[in-house]
């Protein structure tokens, strides 16, 4: 019985601490005062929460914005003394954060919406509209996946405390290149890609996050590592034939790599790196074109990639996907 009378203190970081002092030894007044103290502490905790929330919603300072979401990502609002029945969830705050960050850069295209049935917040992208219902799904440690709910595809992983943002090539391919490509035009998909890129770019530039853009990376230095651990001979032979049928020529480069000129100055290469890992590379004069863009624009490459995923699929960071 004595266990039930133990004092349990809930701390903002979610941990609890039990005091082994036997409550029956306290006087009635003492008990009431202890209760009052706890209540006040928890009310203060609530007040502090409103202050942080206020920062999230109103600050124009990018650093304050990050600080607010980091705190909220682990904030424990409810306690044994005080429960708030009306609450936004942490995933809701993450969406608000994304919107605010893009807003600070005048780059917000994603539209924050509220689900009328359960008051949950979600994002929509103009042009994709009802076909994309984007929310965060959080992990116990406060990190989260940005997920399209109809398909459950997790487009990226974010950890505000470890300063990490990783895009997921498999999910981006499944959602955008396989599914939405049938209904959404190339331009809209490109705009959506640019919005995702903007998120990664601001997290990197404003906050020094470690960002893996994966197949969205438009830099010529980007190497998209494929599954096959040796030369994807069969896939390349097929590409040679498909390209020829589409009016392009796959050529053998100086070091036996495979090269395809897609249009003036835009070249795709499939080649080994020094460590033996085979990669796809996209080279263009302006560093504007990513592997995703190529998949989005060139039908014969898209068909080829999807038909040969077994050897060509671009690798993800296996720690997070």
């Amino acid at each position: 019985m004595s266990e039930k009378l133990q004092t349990v203190t809930f701390f903002p970081d979610g941990t609890t601490k039990q005091k082994s002092k036997d409550a029956r030894s306290l006087s009635t007044t003492g008990r009431l005062m202890a209760y009052r103290d706890q209540l006040k502490k928890n009310l203060d905790n609530g007040i502090r929460f409103t202050e942080i929330l206020n920062q999230l919603i109103t600050t124009d300072d990018a650093m304050v914005l990050l600080k607010s979401i980091q705190q909220l990502s682990t904030y424990q609002l409810d306690s044994a003394y005080l429960i708030y029945p009306q609450q936004y969830t942490r995933p809701d705050f993450y969406l608000i954060f994304l919107g605010r960050l893009l807003g600070l850069h005048q780059a917000e295209k994603l539209v924050l919406q509220a689900n009328e049935q359960n008051d949950e917040l979600y994002q929509e992208f103009p042009g994709i509209d009802k076909l994309g219902y984007f929310t965060f799904v959080e992990n116990p440690d406060g990190s989260a996946y940005y997920v399209e709910q109809h398909t459950q595809e997790a487009l990226f992983f974010i950890d505000f405390n470890k300063h990490l943002l990783l895009f997921n090539s498999e999910a981006l391919t499944n959602l955008l290149i396989v599914k939405l490509k049938k209904e959404i035009n190339e331009e809209t998909l490109r705009k959506f890609e640019l919005q995702l890129l903007a998120i990664g770019k601001f997290m990197k530039e404003d906050y020094g996050f470690d960002v893996d853009f994966n197949i969205l990376d438009p830099s010529n230095y980007a190497s998209y590592a494929i599954m096959d651990d040796q030369m994807p001979q069969t896939a390349l032979d097929k590409l040679f034939i498909n390209a020829s049928n589409a009016g392009y020529m796959l050529i053998t480069g100086m070091h036996n790599e495979a090269e395809l000129e897609l249009s003036r100055g835009i070249k795709m290469a499939v080649e080994p790196q020094e460590n033996g890992q085979w990669v796809i590379k996209i080279n263009d004069p302006d560093n504007r074109i990513s592997w995703f863009d190529v998949l989005n624009k060139y039908d014969f490459i898209r068909d080829w990639y999807l038909e040969n995923l077994e050897s060509l699929e671009i690798k993800n960071d296996s720690r997070y996907y």
Partner: protein, 290 residues
């Protein structure tokens, strides 16, 4: 004292004279060659190392001057001569045959690929001293055959690809019809059982055997198809691989044909040019001298 019985020796002075002349001839030959090399006069080098070929092809002289004896002097340094002559020759060949990619495997030794496209074929070697291509017979034959097939509107492997594709369709339907076959077998077994148990008059027994045998034959035919269907997945995959290899080859040859047509107009012109390569090249060297 003289020994009268000794044979008389030839005149030593005469011998000295002839040998000196012979050696001088060789020295002159080598000096001419050395000067030609020094002057970067590839044409004269060609003339000096194979006078017979040169006079036949260039001077159209049937019994032209031949200097095969002196030419033997440089036989052992042919690789070096080849290395010397290759620079201008490969440059010329690059211009005349822009679709050949020459790779120097050893000084003066060249092999060449047809095209720079993926999976391009190794197409032969260059004989620098004779200004001649030694084509890979198998690859050349394929190309030549592909040009012939053009008149039938076919590619080299069209027939084989069609045959394999049909075979795969058949195998796929064999796999797809497994349930149907299982049902048929079931029915046949029931019929066989029924026929066997049927009581017939002795004079009808041979007819009964016959009809039973017919059913058994049908059943075993179905079982054979089952076995084929079991292997079909692998066969289909093997066939697909073969079709891929054949389509790749057709694509390669398609590019080769395009290259030849765009440079030479047709295959016949290409072959004719190959035959006169030595003559054309020397003529080019002569023209460059002027």
């Amino acid at each position: 004292m003289t020994n009268e019985n000794q044979f008389t020796l030839s005149d030593h002075d005469e011998a000295t004279k002839t040998l000196t002349e012979a050696v001088t001839g060789k020295i002159q030959y080598l000096q001419t060659l050395a000067k030609a090399i020094d002057d970067q006069d590839d044409r004269q080098v060609y003339e000096l190392i194979n006078s017979k070929k040169y006079s036949n092809e260039i001077l159209h002289a049937r019994h032209g001057a031949q200097d095969t004896e002196n030419e033997k002097l440089v036989e052992d340094i042919q690789p070096k001569i080849s290395a010397f002559l290759s620079q201008k020759l490969i440059k010329y060949l690059n211009e005349m045959y822009p679709f050949f990619y020459f790779e120097e495997t050893a000084p003066g030794n060249f092999q060449f690929y047809f095209g720079n496209w993926w999976g391009r074929r190794l197409f032969g070697t260059v004989d620098v001293l004779n200004v001649e291509f030694h084509f890979d017979k198998r690859e050349y034959e394929k190309l030549s055959r592909a040009f012939e097939l053009e008149y039938e509107n076919k590619r080299l492997n069209s027939d084989a690809i069609e045959r394999l594709s049909k075979e795969n369709e058949r195998l796929q339907s064999l796999i797809d019809s497994q349930d149907e076959r299982d049902q048929q077998k079931e029915e046949l077994r029931a019929q066989i059982k029924a026929v066997s148990q049927e009581k017939v008059m002795p004079w009808e027994s041979s007819k009964q055997r016959e009809s039973k045998q017919k059913l058994v034959d049908q059943l075993s035919h179905l079982t054979e198809l089952d076995e084929e269907a079991n292997d079909a997945y692998r066969t289909i995959r093997d066939n697909e691989e073969t079709v891929l290899a054949l389509s790749k080859e057709d694509t390669l040859i398609g590019y080769e044909k395009q290259s030849i047509v765009s440079k030479f107009g047709n295959f016949e012109n290409f072959e004719a040019k190959n035959k006169t390569l030595y003559r054309d090249y020397i003529a080019n060297l002569i023209a460059a001298e002027k």
